[in-house]
């Protein structure tokens, strides 16, 4: 009985008692959700366009942010460094297409997945060789990212909103909206979905896989850069940031691999779900449930909808 009370009643009582903390929790969840979504978005783009599950997205986040900061440290003005970082991502997209994707056309997904793992290894080595393994500070000021905190007295307590988080949420939302429109409404967008369906058939109708791939990898590179800037500003730019990309997995799966809105909704569900879970229920088992809660949430949703919330229906026809 006691257990039931602790699990089903107490957390809600507490939510009611301290609404300020509830709001703060929701806000933290929202922010991390948006940031997860931003990483997941990079996965979605590439998956949508080429059916490749890009294991390297995490390292691309780190790599792009490192390039930006690294260039800045070498004395390049911030905005020039930003442009150069974007160019570096373009070059990366082209190289990846040439060297990795082109020879592996029409191979099973898992093989391409593996190839992106090779890419990850390469980028880790390459990035550390150039920029060193030391963590760096994101150049928040030079990029005119807002800092500071707004503290609102409300509901008998105080809720803190970081300006940086607000900016992150806004930028991520704009970015996601733009991409969603681009990929659903344009000719290229349609071609992209075709490619994801079948390389062979796409080739046969004259869709240039090479061109499409460069476009999406570049887009994913830019998304990675934005994610890198935002995460970097929150917790520093270092190679360990790469592991955060793992959190994008449940987001991605929950949203359904191919859906841009899915990434954002999935991000919010996971972000808010895990913060609520950790905050209100975590203490019952000694905390730290956040590490697996996201996956369990995603799993529960999947049992109900095996293709994720917004995923394309799995066609089972014989």
């Amino acid at each position: 009985m006691d257990i039931l009370y602790k699990v089903f009643i107490e957390p809600f009582v507490f939510m009611g008692e301290a609404p300020d903390l509830l709001i703060q929790t929701l806000w933290e969840g929202l922010v991390s959700g948006v940031l997860y979504a931003l990483i997941a978005l990079g996965f979605v783009l590439i998956f949508k366009a080429s059916g490749v599950f890009n294991f390297a997205q995490g390292i691309m986040v780190v790599f792009s942010a490192l390039t930006l900061v690294g260039l800045y440290e070498k004395g390049v003005p911030a905005f020039l460094a930003l442009i150069l970082a974007v160019l570096v991502m373009l070059v990366l997209a082209i190289v990846v297409e040439r060297v990795v994707l082109r020879p592996l056309v029409n191979q099973p997904d898992i093989i391409l997945f593996m190839a992106t793992f090779g890419l990850t290894y390469f980028l880790i080595g390459f990035g550390e060789l150039i920029f060193g393994g030391n963590p760096k500070e994101m150049i928040t000021d030079a990029l005119f990212l807002p800092q500071g905190t707004t503290e609102l007295d409300m509901l008998g307590g105080m809720v803190r909103f970081q300006h940086l988080d607000i900016a992150a949420a806004v930028i991520a939302s704009i970015m996601i909206a733009l991409l969603a429109v681009f990929f659903s409404k344009t000719r290229v967008g349609r071609a992209l979905r075709a490619v994801a369906d079948s390389h062979k058939a796409a080739l046969s109708v004259g869709i240039s896989l090479n061109q499409i791939w460069v476009i999406v990898w570049f887009a994913a590179g830019i998304v990675a850069l934005v994610a890198g800037i935002m995460w970097g500003a929150r917790s520093g730019v270092s190679f360990s940031l790469q592991v955060i990309a793992l959190k994008a997995l449940p987001v991605l799966i929950l949203g359904g691999f191919t859906s841009i809105p899915g990434a954002i909704i999935g991000g919010l569900i996971i972000g808010i779900g895990e913060k609520l879970g950790e905050f209100y229920w975590g203490p019952l088992v000694g905390g730290g449930v956040e590490t697996w809660l996201a996956y369990v949430i995603a799993l529960l949703f999947l049992l109900y909808r095996p293709q994720g919330l917004f995923g394309e229906k799995i066609i089972e026809r014989i």
């Binding site: 060297v99 000694g286 697996w292 996956y295 995923g311």
Partner: protein, 361 residues
């Protein structure tokens, strides 16, 4: 000329459905096994301890994952955790019942991970492909959390770590500080050979065909009367069994002591990559994959400085490490481009060429 199919006629189905129908293959396998045993007496302790034992352990884990991912087509990212279950189970068993020989417990510990694996395999009926990965990821992170949070699992050790107490076989220490690399190598080798043989029996028989059927075309398989859930769960269980045994070997016969952290998600990926690069759905590929992913970096670490020093380039260990990462990454991509179906397929093509030799096709 030495490698020919011609002249070897099969007169009965027993011979024809043998796993190695070619005489040359049988001799080859025999020689390899012999050489592997001989290595225990010829190799130095670095080779045995740092190369061969881990290579065999990872091969075993790869075989486990290959059964699930390669043969049955179910992607799993929870290998690390399933290995962990085996290791912790083995630890509990051998400390609770020190009287029973530890070899028994190593084999028994696999059943625990089999059970847990099957449990986490339940969603596989409904969830497929990359989506299934989330179920196994949930297993990975949840189990890992359990390993840290349940001190009972490590007998309330203050260090929170697993350690390998002294255990003997026929009076010879095989576990613990005094077990020599030779002995441990021989034990691991024997276990791996035995389990590989069993796996090969399984995948070549009815059960293996059912697994492959599910992988290739699960709807058609179901329409042929193959029960999808049972078949998939069996694959999860067998696969996790192998991983569990590999986990126990990893901690107790290789490291000799370890934290929960060796069973983290990276371990899962590491094994998955061995399976893919070795060849999905190939037992021998599991060995190739383990060799490439595990041994190649070691070799590079030795070779790179040696290659560079004649040119007067001396670089730090960190640069070597960076280069090693880059080269391994590039080689993975290279191998995939050369043969996406893994090293096992390259091997097969090589054999086919040999059969056709001296003609190109």
């Amino acid at each position: 000329m030495l490698y020919r199919e011609a002249g070897q006629f099969k007169t009965n189905y027993v011979a024809d459905s043998a796993i190695f129908p070619l005489r040359e293959d049988r001799i080859g396998i025999g020689l390899i096994i012999l050489a592997a045993y001989a290595l225990a007496f010829l190799g130095n302790s670095f080779l045995l301890q740092a190369v061969m034992i881990p290579f065999l352990v990872f091969s075993l884990a790869s075989i486990g994952l290959n059964i699930l991912t390669g043969y049955t087509g179910l992607l799993s990212l929870g290998t690390g955790a399933f290995m962990g279950v085996g290791a912790y189970a083995c630890y509990k068993l051998m400390t609770a019942f020190p009287g029973v020989n530890v070899i028994v417990w190593i084999f028994v510990s696999g059943f625990f991970s089999a059970g847990i694996g099957a449990l986490f395999g339940l969603p596989s009926l409904r969830i497929k492909g990359f989506y299934l990965a989330v179920a196994t990821l949930a297993a990975q992170f949840f189990l890992q959390w359990c390993f840290i949070r349940i001190p009972w699992l490590v007998n309330y050790n203050v260090s929170g770590a697993l350690d390998a107490p002294l255990r003997t076989l026929f009076g010879v220490p095989i576990m613990g500080p005094n077990a020599t690399p030779q002995v441990r190598y021989l034990v691991v080798l024997t276990i791996v050979i035995l389990l590989t043989w069993l796996a090969s029996n399984l995948v070549h028989g009815r059960i293996g065909r059912m697994w492959i059927a599910i992988r290739d075309m699960d709807l058609a398989a179901e329409l042929m009367g193959i029960r999808p859930l049972q078949t998939k769960l069996l694959a999860f269980a067998v696969s996790s069994y192998y991983c569990g045994v590999a986990g126990a070997l990893l901690v107790f016969l290789w490291y000799g002591g370890a934290e929960y952290d060796v069973f983290n998600i990276n371990q899962s990926f590491f094994i998955l990559f061995m399976v893919i690069i070795g060849g999905l759905g190939s037992l021998i590929g599991s060995f190739f994959g383990a060799a490439l992913i595990f041994i190649l970096p070691i070799v590079l670490g030795i070779v790179l400085p040696a290659v560079m020093s004649p040119f007067g380039i001396t670089v730090g260990s960190d640069v070597i490490e960076h280069l090693r990462f880059m080269i391994v990454g590039a080689l993975i991509i290279f191998f995939l481009i050369v043969e996406p179906h893994g090293l096992a397929r390259l091997w097969q093509i090589g054999k086919q060429k040999l059969l056709a030799w001296p003609f190109p096709y």
